[in-house]
């Protein structure tokens, strides 16, 4: 099994940390992982993306041009990455702020209203975990116990008290994900 994922959105949305938690969880489950950020003269509010690869085998390239899954959190990222999903692949997007919706017919498209729900529940800080939950519902690549360990490893000890809140957000995400178009 090899899963190549791009996660993209605004800086500050937790794109990089979502990728890091997923990657650390993969390690805890004894998988090979790579996490490659777009780094550059970027700042809060600018765009940020990260490529995460989870695999049972040694990973060749951490740089890829087509993805099994794209997790998209803003319009610019949707415009940039919709075309890079492999045919038959998965695109998940948060409709908040989206005006031009994805139009491909050869990929599975799901939406998750994570931003709105996070606002309603006062969970803005774990918005990214809601999105991760939606993804894990569709592709349960990493078991919940390893996500727990991944959170323990990714978060500094002083933030470990927030792990239950993160796990709750993942569970909420699993209930929010909706099919928009299926191949």
């Amino acid at each position: 099994m090899t899963e190549e994922i791009i996660i993209a959105g605004f800086g500050g949305q937790g794109v990089l940390s979502m990728g890091k938690i997923l990657a650390y969880s993969g390690i805890m489950q004894n998988q090979e992982v790579s996490w490659m950020p777009s780094y550059g003269p970027e700042m809060r509010g600018g765009t940020a993306n990260v490529t995460v690869v989870l695999s049972d085998e040694r990973i060749s390239s951490p740089i890829i041009n087509s993805y099994d899954t794209a997790i998209i959190l803003n319009q610019q990222s949707l415009d940039k990455f919709e075309a890079t999903v492999k045919p038959g692949g998965l695109l998940i997007y948060d409709p908040n702020g989206i005006t031009h919706y994805p139009s491909r017919k050869d990929i599975n498209i799901y939406s998750i209203e994570a931003s709105e729900e996070a606002g309603k529940l006062g969970l803005a800080k774990v918005f990214n975990m809601i999105v991760l939950g939606g993804f894990l519902k569709l592709k349960p690549l990493v078991k919940p116990e390893f996500i727990h360990k991944g959170l323990e490893k990714s978060l500094p000890a002083r933030h470990h008290k927030l792990i239950p809140e993160n796990e709750k957000a993942i569970d909420i995400g699993k209930t929010l994900i909706k099919a928009v178009h299926l191949v």
Binding site: K20, A23, Y24, I27, E32, V33, S34, W35, M36, P37, Y39, G40, P41, I59, S60, S61, P62, I63, I64, N65, S66, K153, S154
Partner: protein, 360 residues
């Protein structure tokens, strides 16, 4: 079991240096390698192993602090990215001339000049052909994973002390910034004063009564002596070429074509090999791990067995010269590269292979 961590390449080389018993790091921040010093400052190894971590006032100061520390037989290092490494070249030449061990990390960004902060491999000539003035060589290690960033810190110090020669870890923005799984070595204690005296009888640790004084210098105004010194350096470099060539082959057994690439380009090329093989193209990858000494003989062995070589580099084509020399121009060798901070995709490499080597 060894400790497993998810780390950036920059963090891994820093952590591994502490664990290898490094005595001192001297640096000056620059993207895309600032995490090295940032990580070291945060870990504050002064409190645990006693290692000194110091932000110098400039790159020139940092490399000369390394010169000083190395003279005393200490395991010292510095790191920077391309423009900063250019500033250090005078010091590196002096250190090579004075035959001192040290570890230098270059996380390359696009040049020339201040260039860009994105990944590049355009410092190959500078790293392998001198960089500073004079007849000298660095031992150049080219990691292609975060694990190798960790492994090469210890290996780098070992080689540096074995040959009394500076060792350069040549990474790039991809290797420095990406995170992968790393297995870290156990902590090795720093050398005690007694161990330094035993392991580095040449060092200036204070004169003992039973020996002549040690002198560390790269200056000799007597040209006959200097010629003898440079000939000694030559013999040392030949010894290094004999003993220390490292490389890795991937799917080369039945290959009709070969890709030669190092560092992050090798990772991208490995994926390209997988894609090309799926299309029925018999291609393999040879990845030089040491750029000096360059794996000349392993490449020469392919002459007569393969139809062509594509070198993949994030530059205008620098390593290609060593590949051509290695195969004595008896095989067609072509370069494919992106540059200025642009990273090639595996698909682009396959297209280049088809157009330039198979179709060309």
């Amino acid at each position: 079991m060894k400790e497993l961590k998810l780390m950036k390449g920059n963090e891994a080389v820093a952590e591994a240096a502490i664990r290898a018993g490094c005595d001192g790091y001297f640096g000056y921040p620059i993207t895309p390698q600032s995490e090295i010093m940032e990580y070291l400052m945060y870990q504050d190894p002064q409190k645990t192993t006693g290692m000194v971590v110091l932000q110098a006032e400039s790159e020139v100061a940092a490399i000369n602090m390394v010169y000083g520390g190395a003279s005393c037989g200490k395991k010292v290092m510095t790191s920077s990215s391309s423009p900063g490494i250019s500033l250090k070249q005078e010091g590196i030449s002096y250190i090579a001339g004075a035959e001192l061990p040290c570890l230098i990390v270059n996380i390359v960004r696009g040049g020339p000049g201040l260039g860009t902060i994105q990944p590049s491999q355009s410092d190959y000539f500078q790293s392998t052909k001198g960089g500073g003035h004079g007849d000298y060589r660095l031992i150049v290690l080219a990691p292609s994973s975060v694990q190798e960033m960790a492994d090469f810190a210890g290996l780098g110090f070992d080689l540096a002390f074995k040959y009394r020669n500076p060792v350069l870890i040549l990474g790039d923005g991809v290797i420095g910034q990406m995170m992968e799984k790393v297995e870290l070595d156990e902590f090795k204690p720093r050398w005690t004063e007694e161990e330094i005296r035993r392991n580095t009888p040449w060092s200036t640790m204070g004169k003992l009564n039973n020996r002549e004084r040690n002198i560390i210098t790269s200056l000799d105004l007597d040209s006959h002596k200097q010629e003898k010194h440079v000939a000694h350096l030559r013999d040392k470099y030949l010894e290094i070429e004999k003993n220390e060539v490292r490389y890795e082959e991937f799917q080369c057994e039945d290959a009709e074509y070969l890709i030669v690439a190092y560092g992050s380009s090798a990772r991208i090329s490995q994926k390209a090999v997988e894609l090309a093989r799926a299309k029925g193209i018999k291609v393999g990858l040879l990845r030089p791990i040491t750029l000096f000494p360059f794996p000349k003989k392993p490449l020469l062995n392919y002459v007569g067995k393969i139809k062509g070589i594509l070198t993949v580099e994030m530059s205008l084509g620098q390593m290609i010269e060593d590949v051509k020399l290695a195969v004595e121009c008896k095989v067609k060798v072509e370069h494919f590269g992106r540059f200025g901070g642009i990273i090639p995709t595996p698909d682009e490499v396959v297209v280049a292979l088809e157009k330039q080597i198979i179709g060309g």
